[in-house]
């Protein structure tokens, strides 16, 4: 089950459409599971890793994947090889990811790009690595063409994610 938890107010209809997209992509149920508060003391741009660790009040079962959705910006990560532009962050194979809709105002404005980023972060939760196919949502998200693509997976990534989901169900 994919649980979308909002950290800021969003339109319900847009959220329902967003959940339908996630359901279509992964074939597992997706729903809006309420909202949560950003931990006190965190200011914009938010530190994605810290946010995932410190956010409270999320109820989920063991196999659930939680996607935190915010309209605030996330801070770019400093990595040993350079600075990584961060529109979302997910721990590989774990159960929580965070996604920002920035620089778009709402879900509807940049729907395609936001859905693509969401698929990318949820794919990371299901142990998918970055892909070589520019049309796939698992392509590195900081590339210029990423936002223009559709919210789909390539054959390899789709089959791998289906396999991981099947294993998680069994």
């Amino acid at each position: 089950m994919i649980r979308v938890v909002t950290l800021d107010p969003f339109d319900d209809k847009q959220l329902a459409k967003f959940n339908r997209t996630l359901y279509t992509a992964f074939g597992v149920g997706s729903e809006h599971s309420g909202s949560a508060e950003v931990p006190a003391g965190m200011s914009e741009p938010l530190d994605a890793e810290k946010l995932l660790d410190e956010v409270k009040g999320i109820r989920a079962y063991k196999d659930d994947k939680v996607l935190l959705l915010t309209s605030r910006k996330l801070k770019d990560r400093d990595l040993p090889s350079g600075k990584a532009p961060t529109s979302g962050f997910a721990r590989y194979g774990k159960d929580r990811a965070v996604l920002t809709i920035a620089p778009f105002k709402d879900l509807e404005t940049g729907y395609k790009a936001i859905a693509r980023h969401a698929l990318h972060q949820l794919g990371t939760l299901w142990e998918l690595h970055h892909c070589l196919d520019p049309r796939c949502s698992m392509y590195p998200p900081w590339t210029p063409s990423f936002n223009q693509g559709d919210h789909i997976f390539c054959t390899f990534c789709r089959e791998k994610s289906e396999q991981k989901i099947r294993l998680a169900k069994s």
Binding site: E49, R77, L79, P80, S81, G82, K83, A84, P85, F89, A90, R91, Y92, G93, T124, H129, H130, L132, D133, P134, P140, W142, T143, P144, S145, F156, K160
Partner: protein, 320 residues
């Protein structure tokens, strides 16, 4: 010998890399008796899923188990990935063999070479399924080792690798087959621009519509010379690859019809009958028809259809 395994002193709690399996932690080193021999076993637990493997201590180095790379090694890996030197072999057999060797040896540089090579190759053409799986495996092992070496999350390790491979703000370049050509190497059988079957050269000598130039004497003398010193000439001349050229037809002779491919037609039966005789009727397939009764005789009554089942009992005589 795999890198970093020259003198491996393992202790419980050490993090090691098992080739093709990933980062493991040494869980125990104990002596066990197997088939009457006491052997020291190193028990390792894979960090990813907790799978346990026991290896005799004497086999540790030959298997390729080594300690996790240091941050300095990871810096070298970034430098290697950043460079534009490594091009995958276009010959798939050679490439598969090389990549398999690199994976089996288990060095971090070998993993980076597989990832880089296949990533560059994917800029020329999409990877086939097997190589896509290999790429994914190599990437997974590389990411987990970089994460272990730097003590960071795997997502960060993967992003740090991909920032080098896919620099932000830049699209991946389109490669051409010419970039993969190896200077001084053998003929590249995958080079599609080249003459694949020698069709472009004059070796096949397909019959042309134009008449050949008239040089009967020179040709004949050349042929004679070839016949005389054919062997010597063959030894002196550099050997040509492929099919030998066909002998050119003599002048005046009709150009040979282009050779038809496929099974040759069946030889026609020799005509024995005279020209006036009717041609033989084509053979009919299936069961031959029953012989008709002669027309002159009275037509016989058609035989009663055979009854099936038990024959009727003979009736008793009425005289009694």
């Amino acid at each position: 010998m795999p890198e970093g395994s020259a003198a491996l002193q393992l202790q419980v709690g050490d993090r090691v890399v098992y080739p093709n399996q990933g980062v493991c932690r040494v869980a125990a080193i104990d002596v066990k008796e197997v088939a009457g021999q006491s052997l020291t076993f190193v028990t390792m637990r894979r960090e990813e899923d907790g799978a346990v493997v026991m290896v005799p201590q004497g086999k540790i180095i030959s298997i390729g188990v080594r300690k996790v790379a240091s941050p300095a090694d990871v810096e070298e890996i970034y430098a290697f990935l950043r460079s534009d030197s490594d091009k995958a072999d276009l010959d798939w057999k050679q490439r598969a063999r090389t990549n398999l060797d690199r994976m089996t040896q288990g060095g971090i540089l070998g993993l980076a070479e597989v990832v880089k090579g296949l990533q560059v190759l994917s800029e020329l053409r999409p990877l086939p399924t097997k190589e896509r799986e290999l790429y994914d495996n190599a990437r997974h092992l590389l990411v987990s080792e970089v994460a272990a070496a730097l003590g960071t999350a795997e997502a960060n390790a993967e992003d740090s690798i991909d920032i080098v491979l896919f620099p932000p703000g830049k699209e991946r370049p389109k490669r051409t087959a010419a970039e993969f050509a190896r200077p001084g190497g053998d003929e590249d059988d995958m080079d599609l621009d080249g003459d694949l079957m020698g069709l472009e050269g004059g070796e096949l000598d397909l019959p042309s519509d134009e008449e050949p130039p008239a040089e009967p004497e020179e040709e004949s003398s050349e042929e004679g010379a070839e016949e005389e010193g054919g062997e010597e000439a063959a030894e002196d001349a550099p050997k040509k690859r492929g099919r030998p050229p066909k002998a050119k037809p003599d002048e005046g002779a009709e150009p040979a019809a282009p050779k038809k491919r496929g099974r040759p037609p069946k030889p026609k039966p020799e005509v024995v009958a005279a020209e006036g005789a009717e041609p033989a009727a084509p053979k009919k397939r299936g069961r031959p028809p029953k012989a008709k009764p002669p027309e002159g005789d009275t037509p016989a009554e058609p035989a009663a259809p055979k009854k099936r089942g038990r024959p009727p009992k003979a009736k008793p005589a009425e005289d009694e």
